[in-house]
Amino acid sequence: VKETKKITQAIRCAVEAEVPDVLPLVVRALPLQKDRPPERTRRPALKYAVCLAASLFFCLGGFLGIPSLFGQVLSSSGKIGDGNEFTMVAYAAEAPDADKMEIALSKKHTLTDDQIHDNWFASGSGLVVQTLPDGQVEIEFETTFNIDCVGTNIRYVTFTTSEGVFIREQELLNSAADVHCIHGYTMTDFDGNVIQTHYYTHVPVGQQYTVSYAQQFDDTVSYGIRFTKQFSSEEAAWEWIDGSIDAGGLGAVIRESLSGMITITAEFTDGTRDTRPLLLDASDAYR
């Protein structure tokens, strides 16, 4: 805390010491009151029409790249065709190419308390602990990562999860059109130009998310999984200190409670399928 205070204070002092005074320039350049642009009129009807259309579109589902909200998990269709191959590489969402490290696909990790602590600041993860209005304590752990399913003759790749919510996040600059969007928002400037758009697709247990083989290599996309657990105030007896982990209490909860399995299914061009389980516990984004 002391360190944080010192650093943030130093940065504030440095900015305040060097910030130029542009007020005279601003005042000189002020447009006259009458030159101000007219207030924009809102068009809620259009907005609602777009929302309704989007809802219908997503509820109907079934299109390439759109999660089928009422879809069933794909089942394996038995023998895999000759020449069909399927391997996976999973790595931390923000790892540069050179640092891609494979995440174990079927072996669950056992974390030590030291590892949890060391990895607390690791790339692509976040933990929120909050007390709910009814007194329960909620822990939400979100970890992001990238997955490349590499192989031959793969046509589609489908993701499902056995626990938590599978998340696809896409961050785009200067672009607004994306059919994958379920949760998202767009930032525009005053001229209506799109500056940045974030899209989130949430795929809970029992639903699936399918992309074409090529689409999964989109650099703007990362994946994640979010686990949420609630505890009564008696159960949540661990000590929670902002920015640190009580290794014996909260650490144990992270280690033991927050895990799930993502199943990745490759559908090959000849119609056969193959699946890979990706077991994630709270450590997997820490590589």
Binding site: A10, P20, D21, V26, V27, L30, P31, R36, E39, M187
Partner: protein, 179 residues
Amino acid sequence: VKDEKTLYDRLVTQMAAGDTQALEALYGALHSAVYGLALAILKDRGDAEDVMQNTFLKVWEHAPQYQAGTDAKAWILRIARNLAYHHFRDQKQYGILEEEENRLPCRDELTPSLDRILLDSLLGTLDSCERQIVMLYSVAGYSHKEIAVIVDRPYATVRWKFRNAVKKLAKLAEREGLL
């Protein structure tokens, strides 16, 4: 905090009516935060100065459209952020800009203070999102939750990135004997 919000609301409302003194007061209160945020995005002091100037002009122009009670400070910082991104995009479009991550903070004739060295480290070491988060926390005095709204990131991500950034800066400061 409530008083601060009420004050900024009142100042923007007065600006909407053409009160230049309200603009001066608002400028006095927020210019460091606006400059800091623009600097965090653009990593260039001259560009940050341009964005700061344009931000207050935009605020003046669009003050009549501001909806009272919706947090004027956050509104102004979002304008600054949008303009900085716009500036960045324009420069990139016209080939003026080098790769963002390769840009280095310019040095001026001032003897760098320890604070200044730390600020330059922030600009040189952290990624764009981390820079914005640290700047909004340090200079604008925002909490992680408020920053999450401005930078459009989940709260957990903001908190993690902030800790990560401070850890990096602390390491660097320790190595350089600044702390």
